[in-house]
């Protein structure tokens, strides 16, 4: 598959005779590089910047992360302290997001919940990344028997119902945040490893790799210097999309009563807590639900934008 210059793909340019000018056959001029040389990364960034929706998502994400850090600090309330005299209060000057069934301030709880959800999502995604890249890299690079065995193993792991593993793990071990992350990653990395494997397999027969190899580069150097950096696009895209997946999965676990432990709350567990009474206390569901949706959206749209930016074919 040939690498195409994105500018050649642009079909909407209207050309008029004025756009053309004769260039001489001056030797010197022919050597001048017409366009500033830019790295693939700058190129991608420039394309991403043009995607308004993706940029807006990025801004939203940054804002959510900032608020999750700052929100609990600026509030005068504590996320765990009950106030049985002020249960289920609608949003007010005192409690910006209202209070919950034990009179806890929803503003501080929402942002604390966002912290937990983001930590779970990011940590799970990073662990997926780490295992997936190493495993997938080895599969793709060595190929042959190694690949066959490792691939078979991941296929078997994949055929174990994900829910089973997660629930069993959470029942066997104490459901701390660490266990939840572990449970989410135990099968989560497989997808990443397959993507890396596919990329590496495509890349490893490229001329530049062969060149490097013929000059005596070792496996480690080939893999980490030449192959992985070139597969980074799909990896990053998969990463951005696996963060919201992990956040959603944690919310699902909360629904089953296997999520984070009270009084710690995640956005998912807060929404689930509010589920039985939301028609009477909509604010208890609204704020965490909107935040969870916003996070999901922002990650998804940003991930899409990133994919488009990194993969010129898909413009």
């Amino acid at each position: 598959m040939a690498v195409q210059d994105p500018t050649l793909m642009n079909n909407n340019v209207e050309l008029t005779p004025e756009d053309f000018r004769k260039i001489g056959t001056d030797e010197k001029e022919a050597e001048i590089i017409q366009r500033e040389s830019i790295s693939a990364w700058r190129d991608a960034w420039q394309r991403l910047r043009k995607n308004k929706l993706a940029m807006a998502s990025l801004v939203v994400l940054i804002l959510i992360i900032l608020a999750a850090i700052i929100g609990p600090i600026i509030s005068k309330f504590d996320s765990a302290t009950n106030d049985l005299l002020a249960t289920n209060q609608p949003p007010s000057k005192e409690h910006w997001f209202g209070t919950d069934d034990l009179g806890r301030d929803m503003f501080v709880r929402t942002w604390m919940g966002a912290r937990i959800s983001l930590i779970v999502g990011l940590a799970a995604a990073l662990i997926d990344l780490l295992i997936g890249v190493i495993y997938g890299g080895i599969m793709g690079y060595f190929g042959g028997r190694v690949d066959a065995i490792m691939n078979k193993f991941s296929e078997i792991l994949y055929s174990i119902p994900y829910m089973l593993v997660t629930i069993l793990l959470l029942v066997v071990f104490e459901p701390s945040i660490g266990t939840i992350i572990l449970a989410l990653t135990i099968t989560g990395w497989i997808n990443m490893s397959w993507i890396v494997r596919g990329e590496i397999m495509q890349l490893k027969n490229r001329e530049y790799v062969l060149a490097s190899r013929s000059m005596g580069a070792g496996s480690g150097r080939l893999l980490f210097r030449h192959l992985l950096p070139n597969a980074v696009g799909p990896i990053i895209v998969t990463l951005t999309l696996s963060v919201p997946n992990a956040i959603f999965s944690e919310a699902f676990l909360s629904f089953l009563g296997l999520g984070v432990r009270a009084p710690i709350a995640s956005l998912g567990s807060m929404v689930n807590d509010a589920l039985t009474g939301w028609m009477y206390y909509p604010w208890r569901m609204l704020f965490p639900a909107i935040l969870i949706s916003l996070t999901m959206l922002a990650f998804n749209i940003f991930g899409d934008g990133l994919r488009d930016a990194l993969d010129p074919k898909l413009k």
Binding site: P161, M163, I167, L168, F248, F252, D304
Partner: protein, 310 residues
């Protein structure tokens, strides 16, 4: 060919064996037993129960016994639902999940593809935006939130449907809607982006240049090529959807296999846990197996690499 089939089949058995072993030991690592409750039965009776179900033996013996039973196709008797066969419970509850699932798949594909196509054809117009907002909502709203919202609105407030139950055709509407929201969103986005790609491809331009009429271009080229990526997505989606959604089943009070599975873990219903796991595993593996075989029959290139003609 025969060798190819045999080797595939062999791998399937190996996978199944590993699946069974892993689940068995993981399951045995959970504290508790099937006979515990807030009010304990006297130790003698508890001991008798353990003995009757063979739970008093060392775990490895239980494991080999189980393997033996499985080899003869016996999934055993549920430890919680006395005297009910695991296989029977699985089939009954799976039929509910499957009915829901099949409808959800059909609806998701039809609605998703339509939305995606509209969005692509009216690229950057109002319809595109509306379609994409809908699609994005499907991805961004947790299914339990969506399910309880539509249940409240359409069943409790408006009274158009039953809040729960699974009797008449109307009872399918809300659960299927909740179940298909996410796949619809994915499919719509996939269709849209692939259609856009196709619309800008050279061969479409060529077709246009040749003066083919719009309808022909749409149906012969754009749609056919545009929905191909959707087909790749349907595979994993089908597997996900028909194996049951605990959330949807719980909220709409449907006795599907997803709910059974969560319950049997809580109950430490060992035979049931194993049964459902094996069922899930076999279902997926068998589908993959048959697909591979059929694929060989259809695509001659695979034969060459798959094995020598036998």
């Amino acid at each position: 060919m025969v060798r190819y089939v045999l080797s595939k089949f062999f791998y399937m058995l190996v996978s199944l064996f590993i699946l069974i072993s892993a689940t068995f030991f993981l399951m045995k690592a959970i504290p508790g037993n099937p006979f515990m409750s807030e009010k304990n039965v006297p130790p003698e009776i508890q001991a008798r129960l353990m003995e009757q179900y063979g739970l008093d033996k060392p775990v490895y013996q239980q494991y080999f016994k189980y393997l033996g039973d499985i080899a003869t196709g016996d999934l055993g008797i549920s430890m919680k639902h006395q005297n009910q066969e695991v296989g029977g419970i699985i089939l009954q509850t799976f039929s509910a999940s499957l009915k829901l699932g099949i409808f959800a798949i059909i609806i998701s594909v039809i609605v998703g593809v339509l939305l995606g196509m509209l969005a692509a054809l009216y690229h950057r117009k109002l319809i595109d935006n509306i379609a994409m907002v809908l699609a994005v909502l499907g991805i961004a709203v947790p299914s339990f939130v969506l399910a309880s919202l539509i249940q409240y609105l359409f069943a409790q407030k408006l009274g158009w449907f039953n809040v729960m139950g699974f009797d008449g055709p109307l009872d399918y509407v809300l659960p299927v809607a909740a179940l298909s929201a996410q796949p619809i969103a994915f499919i719509a986005r996939l269709t849209r982006s692939s259609m856009l790609e196709v619309l800008h491809a050279d061969y479409i331009k060529t077709a246009k240049a040749k003066g083919l009429n719009w309808m022909t271009i749409m149906f012969k080229h754009v749609i056919r090529n545009g929905i191909l990526p959707v087909v790749t997505y349907i595979g994993p989606m089908t597997a996900n959807v028909i194996t049951g959604s605990v959330v949807i089943e719980q909220i709409f009070g449907i006795g599907g296999i997803g709910k059974v599975f969560v319950d049997c873990i809580t109950n430490r219903d060992y035979t049931m846990i194993m049964g459902v796991t094996i069922f899930y595993g076999v279902l997926l593996m068998l589908a993959r197996f048959i697909t591979d075989i059929v694929y060989v029959l259809v695509d001659p290139r695979i034969k060459l690499t798959g094995g020598k003609e036998g």
